[in-house]
């Protein structure tokens, strides 16, 4: 266990009525680490992220971020402390052009605090950020309303909105789901670049091949419980993981 843990999750439980969605989840995340969170459908991956980011309150347990206990804090305050996330089901402002979608995160108190006072021309910053995630400036795609954008661009927009918050911890919830191989290949270098810049990242993914290429460590969940934690190659050799993914005879 590294001492420079940016995030420490201990004894996290969440039950929805009679369903135990998360059961005794614990892990540490070191600064600059890229953690993959995997598991079969319904294993509690998104619930775990919702618990960390404050969108759902845990039944018991603690989430400590940069030394602060953030358990049960409202989601907007957790974002201000430096955790940004994307949603599995993208949540753009459909009526607005893509670049105007970026204004709301750029208007965030966190960004104001980091940049200091007024940002100046937020539209220009929005266009720069969108270009970074692959909105070609010449194609004018950044000016199209979000409702007219294909899924690949909506996912990039979701990523850009999270990056705009300049987070210390970035959580990507199934960023690659619903994308073609070519679209994934277009986004992967962006995450690799973030990683090279030292950003701490948690990725929930079903696209294991792509995830294992970049993840330092992988945690596997099944029925809300952690069943494996370690290097990708080692984790996939675990009997419990094989059984969770493939079933038992």
């Amino acid at each position: 266990m590294k001492s420079t843990a940016i995030l420490r999750v201990t004894g996290l439980f969440k039950n929805f009525g009679g369903v135990q969605a998360i059961s005794d989840l614990y892990f540490d995340l070191a600064e600059g680490e890229l953690l993959g969170l995997i598991g079969p459908n319904g294993s509690g991956k998104t619930t775990a992220v919702n618990l960390i980011t404050g969108f759902v309150k845990p039944s018991t347990g603690a989430v400590v971020f940069k030394g602060f206990d953030i358990t049960g804090l409202p989601a907007y305050r957790i974002v201000r402390l430096g955790i940004a996330r994307t949603f599995q089901m993208v949540k753009p402002f459909y009526q607005l052009p893509a670049y105007k979608n970026m204004i709301i995160p750029l208007y965030s108190p966190r960004v104001k605090k980091l940049v200091g006072g007024k940002y100046g021309d937020r539209d220009a910053v929005a266009l720069d950020l969108l270009e970074e995630v692959g909105f070609e400036r010449d194609a004018k795609v950044a000016y199209k309303v979000a409702a007219a954008l294909p899924q690949g661009y909506l996912k990039r927009l979701e990523l850009a909105k999270a990056i705009a918050l300049q987070p210390d911890l970035l959580i990507l919830d199934e960023l690659f789901s619903g994308l073609s191989l070519a679209e994934v290949a277009g986004i992967l270098p962006i995450i690799e670049k973030l990683r090279r810049e030292g950003k701490t990242i948690i990725m929930i993914e079903h696209r294991l091949k792509e995830l294992f290429r970049i993840a330092d460590r992988v945690i596997v969940l099944n029925y809300g419980q952690k069943i494996a934690d370690g290097r990708a190659a080692d984790v996939m050799e675990s009997a419990a993981v094989k059984s969770a993914y493939l079933g038992t005879e």
Binding site: Y76, F93, L96, I104, P105, Y107
Partner: protein, 334 residues
């Protein structure tokens, strides 16, 4: 070969899109016309109207303010069915200040707008977390509850209300105050909605979780929008108290809740200008229909239905589209 209608921006719209529009009178007129002409026309109206229609214009401006207030709330994702709460609260606050303490209307109206707005915001604060129809139901019930409260406890004159309010110093001040307030609210809040702050408000309507995910406390922003909207409504109520020189239970009437919504829907929600235009159509229409006696409400209802079915986008958006774009039929391969 099938045909479909294609909408294309007019050349002048494209040419007026940047600073070079300042080089041509035609482009400048194109930009300024839709703004300056209605403003000049509205400011000239009191000079050409008789006293009766001046009073109708007062009513138009009051309902336009309530419709602007409704539209502003709707833009933030809060569908109010109780604009009468704001109107009535402003009316009672100014009535109490004027009746019991004898304060002049030019002081009581702004004070009632601000404090009436604050009281309404405080009343709705606990239900700010409710969304959709649940929020709407509470807004509908509150003015009805307050009517019964006044009736049962006989406070502030009970069923008879408070009479003998001071009127505004002159008829001209009266009309230009309310028309000026309407124009200021229309252009001021249209501008506000166009800023980054306004974008956050509209973002809350479109996808509140996404706004939370930007580290923004949506309840604080909803509170601000609610205060702005209720202050506009309270101003309208406070103003009318000094026009009628009376405040009583009718200020919480359903008319003040429903007509602003009808105005915003007929005019076209989302622009504030549509809500104002809707009030300019519906209130005079209601007056004109007085001539038909008992069938007035039936004809009014038919008009509303026809308008909503024929122009679901609203009159303002229809006119705006025709102004900026032309349509042509193009052939498409099937």
């Amino acid at each position: 070969m099938q045909k479909r209608r294609e909408r294309v921006d007019r050349g002048i719209k494209v040419r007026s899109g940047d600073v070079f529009a300042l080089c041509s009178w035609r482009e400048m007129l194109y930009l300024a016309g839709p703004r300056v002409l209605p403003v000049v026309a509205i400011l000239m109206l009191p000079l050409v109207l008789g006293i009766y229609w001046q009073k109708v214009l007062l009513s138009v401006a009051v309902f336009a303010l309530l419709a602007i207030s409704w539209d502003l709330l709707a833009q933030t994702g809060m569908i109010s069915l109780g604009q009468a709460l704001f109107f009535g609260m402003g009316a009672y606050v100014t009535g109490i200040l004027n009746h019991y303490w004898g304060l002049p209307p030019l002081l009581t109206i702004p004070v009632a707008a601000v404090f009436g707005g604050l009281i309404c915001t405080a009343l709705l604060l606990p239900v700010l977390r409710l969304r959709g129809i649940y929020f709407s139901m509470v807004t509908l019930i509150l003015p009805l509850m307050l009517v019964r409260l006044v009736e049962a406890t006989r406070i502030f004159g009970g069923t008879e209300g408070l009479t003998g309010m001071t009127s505004l110093p002159s008829r001209w001040l009266e009309i230009y105050l309310i028309v000026g307030a309407m124009l200021a609210a229309l252009f001021g809040f249209r501008r506000l909605l166009g800023t980054d702050y306004g974008l956050v408000l509209k973002g809350i309507r479109d996808n509140d979780r996404s706004v939370i995910n930007a580290g923004i406390n949506i309840y604080w922003y909803k509170t601000q929008a609610l205060w702005i909207a209720s202050t506009i409504g309270a101003f309208a109520g406070a103003f009318m108290t000094h026009v009628y020189m009376f405040v009583g239970m009718p200020v919480f009437a359903l008319d003040y809740s429903i007509l602003p919504i009808a105005a915003a829907v007929v005019g076209g929600p989302g622009s504030l200008a549509g809500a104002t235009l809707g009030a300019f159509i519906l209130v005079p229409l209601s007056e004109v229909l007085r001539g038909v006696g008992g069938l007035r409400i039936v004809l009014y209802g038919v008009f509303l239905v026809v308008f909503i079915v024929a122009l679901p986008e609203g009159i303002f958006h229809f006119i705006q589209r025709k102004y900026h774009q032309f349509e042509r039929w193009v052939e498409v391969d099937t």
